[in-house]
Symmetry: C2
Subunit: 228 residues, 2 copies
């Protein structure tokens, strides 16, 4: 029999937390339909959908993690799809827009207030050889009086603390280069760009139950020039 | 001389609140550069950048409101740019990704805790004749113990209350059709889709200082079919 005390310290599973994402692929070319469908197929054939459920509509693709390591599965799948789309796009320019979500109360009924939040390991995403830049935003969705991270310090209920800490960690690993209005610029190998955003989102998610991050990832832009 | 009490009840100006957006345009065609630059030029020549500052980099365009009505200026500009891009895209398929932000503490130094938040009028955006669908997400970034809207009810510090109330209002005006994982689907004339999201974001912004909303807006998707 599970006591209430034991329940309160059980670590939530990915599916209970609603760990998943929505993403849209934008190949900037006339035959965009073939590129999108081909890239989704490439990733599936490479086994990157293992442990995930996917569902594509006319705007985007939903991907939910059913088994762990949830964050790594999502990051590897995303890197695979975007790299495949880049390889298939004649003009070379592909943008992906990504929303990563965890712990949405409207998404799952799991009582997060009595469940210990997992602290996932950093994801390991093989280098793609595809250079990417991204604009990245992070949203810790606090409720009054519930910020697990506040146990560790004095930042009780301060959403900006989580954001500035995450940006500082991203800067230290080298992918975050400079602030933009409402976003932070990331650059590097597509794998590093995605891993930076995924790790930051998962780290905040170990302190705040409901966390979302958005990324606009650009590959092969003709206006990128020499800008980092 | 302004007393501290008067200061505490002054309504914040758009520029003080950091009312603005980032958006990226994705024409799905080979000559995407001409389409993007042409659409940005069309909107400027139509006078839609009046009262706004814009800055385009290799990933997106930042638009900040310097004078009111800030929300209406942003919504009209966005509708103009996306409609222009749709008209210029040979394949007819354009996606815009939009981030609307207000009250970001990292963006502006205005002491929001002692400034009354404005309650903007609903925006008026002329119909475009362009049919759009969107996936829309809203992020009220609460801090513990600061939720102006809590004066009006019992929802103190509950971020989901703001989200569910906003979705209900969007449903009542007809644009919100159905929930998706992590997003709500909007459909209708591009003007209505954008106005719905902008009004919802501004309304939450009258209760929560820092609010962000994201929209993936799709026009002319060949896979839209008969789906609303």
């Amino acid at each position: 029999m599970t006591t209430q005390h034991e329940m309160a310290h059980r670590v939530a599973e990915p599916a209970e937390l609603g760990v998943g994402m929505r993403f849209s692929l934008h190949p900037h070319c006339d035959d965009f339909v073939d590129v999108i469908l081909g890239a989704l197929r490439d990733a599936e054939q490479a086994g990157l959908t293992d442990g995930l459920v996917t569902s594509t509509d006319d705007v985007s693709t939903y991907v939910g993690a059913t088994t762990g390591p949830a964050e790594q599965r999502l990051a590897r799948y995303l890197a695979g799809v975007v790299a495949a789309a880049a390889g298939r796009t004649p003009t070379g320019h592909v943008v992906a827009h990504v929303l990563l979500s965890r712990g949405c109360p409207g998404e799952r009924t799991c009582d997060l207030a009595v469940t210990r939040l997992p602290r996932p390991a950093a994801v390991d995403v093989p280098a793609t050889g595809v250079r990417a830049v991204a604009q990245w935003s992070l949203y810790p969705l606090l409720d009054a009086g519930f910020d697990v991270g506040s146990d560790a310090g004095d930042g009780h209920g301060d959403h900006m603390r989580h954001i500035t800490d995450a940006i500082e960690r991203a800067r230290q690993r080298g992918a975050a280069t400079e602030p933009r209005h409402y976003a932070t610029r990331l650059s590097g190998d597509l794998a590093d760009v995605l891993a930076t955003a995924v790790d930051a989102w998962a780290a905040v998610g170990s302190e705040v139950p409901h966390v979302v991050t958005h990324l606009t990832v650009s590959v092969g832009s003709p206006s990128a020039g020499s800008e980092r």
